[in-house]
């Protein structure tokens, strides 16, 4: 175990990915025409990726475990370090999951407002500023695409039922 480091795990993950895609390449429908079958090119790439991942694995194993004194891994430490990106992804996921119900405009405004408040703080003054920024900036871009470029965004079931 002492030889393991972060790169070893990534290399193993890559090899697993290659394996999964190799297996999936056998599900690609075969055809009787053409010289290059639909599975040929992906398999060429997968062979290259597998070889590269193996080299990466060997390199990482040779390098061994991280030196003494390196900060040990802890979930709390990771969450603490990557708090802002975590919030971004979580709120963006929520925005995506509710897109069908809230629509692009309301969903977008709420996403920006929540993200600004989570990262920037929720004092009374901040809440007002964040709400204004969210409404004006998202509203302006939504209007530009809707009325200027003729894009039809998801309106949201919440509106259609109202």
């Amino acid at each position: 175990m002492s030889r393991l480091n972060r790169d070893v795990y990534i290399a193993i993950l890559l090899l697993l990915l290659c394996g999964a895609f190799f297996a999936a390449s056998f599900d690609i429908r075969k055809i009787d025409y053409g010289i290059l079958t639909a599975a040929a090119w992906p398999r060429i790439i997968l062979v290259a990726l597998t070889v590269l991942s193996l080299i990466y694995l060997v390199q990482s194993l040779r390098r061994g475990a991280p030196p003494e004194g390196t900060k040990s891994f802890s979930i709390k430490g990771v969450i603490d370090k990557y708090r802002n990106p975590f919030w971004c992804y979580a709120l963006f996921l929520l925005f995506l999951l509710t897109l069908e119900y809230l629509g692009m405009l309301i969903g977008g405004v709420l996403f920006v407002f929540c993200l600004l408040t989570v990262i920037g703080g929720a004092s009374k003054r901040n809440l007002i500023i964040h709400a204004l920024i969210a409404v004006i900036m998202v509203g302006a871009m939504w209007a530009l695409f809707t009325f200027g470029l003729g894009v039809i965004f998801p309106q949201g079931e919440i509106f259609t039922t109202l």
Binding site: S25, I31, I35, A38, N84, L96, L99, F145
Partner: protein, 561 residues
């Protein structure tokens, strides 16, 4: 013919709406280039969704405006705050910031603006004259030559990999793999959909690009909790008046430095993967070496601003030469531009200029015009830049994240594209954390389908694989590809290990083989010259007893930008 094409392009481009949109693009580029953390590539990527509703000329002209604006925008923050807006303006800060602190910010900005302008114009002239000549060679290409050319372009990933070659190559291969998901364009068969209906169509190019590059970049910018709540210039920026007249006189007085730096920029741009992030440092270094007062560099010296700024704009022209003449991207920005061509149903290839001359010449003209717009708008943008530097980073990030979603949805009006953006945003962010460069992956995504198509066409014409070696152009590109893969290793070991002494000689001697195979007086003479240069290099090292020169090491590293 040349003038006919220019006249036709003139009619297409000089329309009020296109000019107005280009101006907006230049302003957006200037601002994006000026904000540290927002790269030019990111600005060009984010512009893509706005160009869907436009025709190809208009859309690409706007992107050209953003590109040129972005290259010049970096100098504003570099000179005024000491933080380079983009990697292409790193060297500008060496003398620009000291000059600004010494009480001459207006003059420093003027030098930067006008050096950018002249550098860009010099490269535009070379673009118009060289690209069509180079493209004529493309007419000789057969199917296997095209495939070999794309293979060569893919090996650029090795140079874009930076410090870790294997990680870069893995990223490039991952990009190729991503491009195989969905319907195969040759036979129309769905691949790697894992039972998901949406995946049968494959990933949209733009959501992948924005997710990988912009989304992940934005999250990196706000990772640090303290930095996220800060504005770019705590305490506010300074309003400055650009000293145009004085700057023009100073730049033209140093025309030797201007010309040399511009040529360095163009040449660096033509070389695949060597973008403006390296040319500005190379030009600065050369200007310092050629100067009679090298000790003044770093203290606010005029030549120290002229060299990097003229070089980075000239690099754009060089990269466009490669992109338009051969259909391969010179750097990440031209890779995105190639993607934009695909979105507008234009297949980038060596026949691009001959088959779509109006579009090609419109791009040439747009590159010219964008430089004039950049000069005209820089003073006004400066005020806007000062305002934006007061906005806190997390505010910019939050708003741009939702803009990414809106822009991506506008591509084909399907929510799946936003999911693609999300997943690739996570992948891009993880890749950044784990030290995988993103540029090779983007190159893989852009070139993957093109490579497969040319391979299929080559094999459809003949199953004999020896054509890849017997066709002179194919052999030429495969040799270039082989040497390109080892170039980063050569760069790292140069001046340290003996094998590097052989690399240039073997490179030149091996290239003479396809040159002789091509026939024709000029190419045979070139082949003989290559042999002579290779042998000369070997003899020189033999006389020196195969000793390595440590002074040759320490070449600037290529970086994403």
């Amino acid at each position: 013919m040349l003038f006919d094409n220019i006249a036709a392009a003139f009619h297409e481009l000089f329309v009020f709406e296109t000019m107005f949109l280009m101006m907006v693009g230049v302003v957006a580029g200037l601002i994006a280039g000026g904000v540290p953390g927002f790269t030019i590539a990111m600005a060009v990527v984010l512009t893509l969704p706005f160009t869907f509703g436009m025709d190809a000329v208009q859309g690409l002209a706007v992107m050209m405006g953003v590109f040129v604006g972005g290259l010049s925008g970096g100098l504003m923050s570099g000179i005024l705050t000491g933080i380079p807006g983009t990697p292409s303006s790193v060297a500008t800060t060496f003398d620009g910031f000291p000059m600004a602190r010494a009480g001459r910010p207006g003059f420093a900005l003027g030098l930067g603006v006008w050096s950018s302008f002249f550098g860009g114009i010099i490269s535009a002239v070379l673009l118009v004259t060289l690209a069509p000549q180079l493209a004529r060679i493309g007419l000789e290409f057969q199917q296997w030559d095209y495939f070999a050319l794309v293979v060569f372009a893919l090996t650029i990933t090795a140079s874009l990999a930076g410090e870790n070659l294997i990680k870069g190559l893995i990223a490039g291969a991952l990009g190729l793999l991503v491009a195989t998901v969905g319907e195969d364009e040759i036979n129309g068969i769905a691949r790697f959909h894992f039972g998901n209906e949406a995946l049968k169509q494959g990933f949209g190019f733009l959501p992948v690009l924005i997710g990988l590059f912009a989304f992940s970049q934005l999250l990196s910018d706000i990772q640090d909790r303290v930095r996220a709540r800060q504005s770019l210039a705590e305490g506010g920026g300074v309003a400055v008046k650009v000293e145009h007249r004085k700057a023009i006189a100073a730049v033209l007085k140093r025309w030797g430095n201007l010309l040399r730096s511009s040529l360095i920029g163009v040449f660096t741009g033509i070389l695949p993967a060597a973008g403006s992030s390296i040319s500005n440092i190379l030009a600065y270094d050369q200007a310092k070496k050629a100067s009679r007062e090298p000790e003044k560099f770093g203290t606010g010296c005029e030549d120290g601003i002229i060299a990097p700024e003229s070089a980075n704009n000239a690099t754009a022209g060089g990269a466009l030469i490669t992109m338009m003449a051969l259909g391969i991207p010179g750097d990440i920005v031209t890779a995105v531009m190639l993607g934009a061509l695909l979105i507008h149903d234009v297949i980038p290839s060596p026949t691009f200029i001959t088959e779509t001359p109006v579009l090609a010449y419109s791009l040439f003209l747009a590159f010219f015009v964008a430089h004039f717009m950049m000069v005209a708008l820089q003073s006004y943008t400066l005020r806007l830049f000062v305002l934006i530097t007061k906005v806190r980073m997390y505010v910019l990030t939050s708003v741009i994240l939702v803009y990414c979603a809106i822009g991506v949805f506008a591509l084909s009006n399907i929510a799946f594209d936003i999911w693609t953006l999300f997943w690739f945003g996570i992948l891009g962010y993880l890749m950044r954390i784990f030290g995988f460069p993103l540029a090779p992956m983007i190159l893989g995504v852009v070139l993957g389908r093109i490579a497969e198509q040319w391979l299929a066409r080559a094999l459809a014409r003949s199953e004999d694989l020896s054509h890849f070696i017997t066709s002179p152009w194919s052999l030429f590109f495969l040799l270039l590809a082989a040497f390109s893969v080892f170039f980063p290793k050569y760069q790292a070991d140069r001046g340290k290990k003996t094998w590097t002494l052989f690399y240039p000689a073997i490179f030149m001697i091996s290239l003479c083989v396809p040159a002789f195979m091509m026939g024709g007086a000029v190419r045979i003479v070139l082949g003989i010259l290559l042999i002579a240069m290779g042998v000369r290099s070997l003899v020189k090292h033999h006389r020196n007893g195969w000793k390595v020169d440590p002074a040759a090491s320490g070449a600037p590293q290529l970086r994403e930008g």
